[in-house]
């Protein structure tokens, strides 16, 4: 039940992030992910950063061994794909604040584009360590969205964390929803800011994944399985778990501080 396809194009997005494009016809919705098999190496959950039509894409940030190897993948290389899995962002809200940290923007970009196409007014706050690591800034601007950025080192946009940007935006404009993906501490902070303004937040979260079928328990997060109940959750549900923003489980299933 998995498809082996050649990578048809690789795009270097930032010094540490690369997009792989490949033809994979199954329909997918914003928020969903696929399991990407790098033969001989590993199989990893990756959000779809491009999901319209058959030419899908995933945007991978080099973290450990396997994702680092992705930087070396050339067009023509075979990968295995299964999915899409998981739930989706609800595209109903009309005024959406999108908050992306690091590679989290991979899942947010197609969702933001789809919402805008559906007539929503979408504002995007992007955060990264430095300007060169800002993901999909140009793509989102090209899609006609309002995009502001924050960098830890101040090399572009507002200096400091993206949460500063979010606070300002929330205090000056009305929003129906906040969508966020990035480090959990960041997402927890964003959710707290939004709650103070009465705006519901939806977070796309990551946990270690093996089966992606709701079976093996690797991705357990409180009473949820991220692979089937998520990856998109209302922030209140996550904040009610003892783990969100604090613990994850490693490959052995041990609860470990994030």
């Amino acid at each position: 039940m998995r498809t082996v396809v050649p990578v048809v194009e690789t795009v270097v997005e930032t010094p540490s992030t690369v997009t792989l494009r490949f033809d994979y016809p199954p329909e997918a919705a914003p928020g969903q992910f696929v399991m990407v098999w790098l033969p001989g190496d590993d199989e990893l959950p990756m959000s779809l950063s491009y999901l319209e039509g058959p030419r899908k894409g995933v945007t991978i940030k080099a973290m450990g061994g396997s994702t680092r190897a992705v930087l070396g993948i050339a067009a023509g290389a075979p990968i295995g794909v299964r999915g899409p899995y998981g739930n989706r962002f609800d595209l109903a809200p009309r005024r959406i604040l999108v908050v992306g940290g690091g590679s989290g923007t991979a899942v947010l970009a197609p969702a933001a584009e789809a919402a805008a196409r559906g007539g929503a007014s979408v504002a995007v706050a992007l955060g990264a360590t430095r300007a060169s690591e800002l993901l999909f800034r140009d793509r989102l601007r090209a899609a006609g969205l309002r995009v502001e950025v924050a960098t830890d080192d101040g090399s572009e946009g507002t200096p400091g964390f993206v949460t500063g940007l979010v606070e300002r935006w929330l205090s000056t404009e009305p929003f129906d929803a906040v969508w966020t993906c990035g480090p959990e501490v960041m997402m927890a902070k964003v959710a707290a800011l939004a709650r103070a303004r009465g705006v519901p937040t939806f977070c796309s979260v990551e946990r270690h994944m093996k089966c992606a079928l709701g079976l093996c328990d690797a991705c357990a997060l409180g009473p949820y399985h991220v692979c089937t109940d998520g990856p998109v959750f209302p922030a209140e549900r996550l904040l009610a778990t003892p783990d969100f923003g604090r613990f994850h489980r490693d490959a052995a299933g041990r609860r470990r501080p994030l």
Partner: protein
């Protein structure tokens, strides 16, 4: 209303549907979730002496016809950390059976003792994982090995020990008989069946480990044969497992000789809510078949001992 309550190894179960080991079994919240969904009891992931990350992905492959292939490689948090998870499940009121795996009889005995301390109602011994080097079926494939492990465990703990038998043997019933001799209070059968899937475009097996274990509907007839043969060989209760998705599947296992059953792979396709639906479905099926209780159906497909004609339809 058929009586769904049953018991295995002296443990009372509110219904015969147990969560199988390795499914929703790493976290206490998940075990509690399966219990709340309606499971008659929950079995933990198999726990070892040390934490194990398991094999690299791909660890699982869905095959045609709902069959599943896996080689997780026995990932588990290890016996030092895992009791905290059991505690969460027990606080939710769950009937918890602890599963352990070891490489030697001594290791099994130690692990059984440690997991018994957490208050589980019984310990299931994984003598049957088909793809973990040095564990599982590698130590559970001979009657001598099984008997030795059971003796060590039974000498070390006061809770009942359930031996989980491999189907990958010339005579699985002989393994069950050895477990009985060694003092097992019950046996469960079967674990997954050794199997393989190939990805021809990549010229390699799909699973990172190569060989894996087959589960799901495809193995139900294999599990039924094991339970059938074991029932004719031992007197201790049998827990049936392998490919059960519906109450009808469970009835087949009861009639073959099982007193309770476990559900694994079906959780992927049908969701944990399955545990809420199965008892009512089973009730209806037992009534329709003329069985007043789960217990009345156990072994009913075997020839009556007194040669009496079989009641039917």
């Amino acid at each position: 209303m058929a009586v769904l309550e049953t018991d295995v190894a002296g443990v009372r179960l509110r219904n015969p549907f147990l969560l199988a080991s390795g499914i929703w079994g790493e976290s206490g919240e998940s075990l509690a979730g399966a219990w709340r969904a309606g499971a008659g009891g929950v079995i933990t992931k198999s726990i070892g002496s040390a934490p194990r990350a398991g094999y690299p992905n791909p660890t699982i492959e869905l095959l045609d016809g709902g069959a599943m292939l896996n080689a997780m490689g026995l990932p588990n948090p290890g016996i030092d950390e895992y009791p905290a998870e059991i505690e969460i499940a027990r606080r939710a009121g769950a009937t918890v059976i602890g599963s352990v795996f070891g490489g030697t009889a001594e290791e099994f005995a130690t692990l059984a003792g440690r997991i018994a301390d957490t208050g589980v109602v019984a310990v299931e011994l994984n003598l049957s994982c088909p793809h973990a080097r040095g564990f599982g079926a590698e130590v559970g494939s001979t009657p001598e090995g099984v008997e030795t492990i059971l003796r060590a465990v039974v000498g070390a703990v006061r809770i009942p020990a359930i031996a989980k038998i491999t189907p990958n043997a010339a005579d699985p019933a002989a393994l069950a008989a050895a477990a009985e001799r060694g003092g097992a209070a019950a046996v469960s059968a079967i674990n997954t069946v050794r199997a393989l899937a190939i990805e021809p475009r990549l010229r390699r097996p799909v699973l990172a480990h190569g060989l894996g274990g087959l589960s799901g509907p495809a193995i139900k007839p294999i599990g039924l044969a094991c339970v059938w043969q074991i029932f004719e060989r031992v007197r201790i209760p049998i827990v049936g497992v392998g490919g059960i998705e519906t109450a009808d599947d469970a009835v087949d296992y009861l009639l073959a000789g099982a007193r309770a059953v476990q559900i694994g792979t079906a959780v992927a396709g049908r969701g944990i809510g399955l545990f809420g639906r199965l008892p009512a479905d089973l009730d209806r099926r037992l009534e329709a078949l003329g069985f007043p209780s789960v217990r009345a159906a156990v072994g009913a497909a075997h020839p009556p001992a007194d040669g009496a004609p079989r009641p039917a339809l």
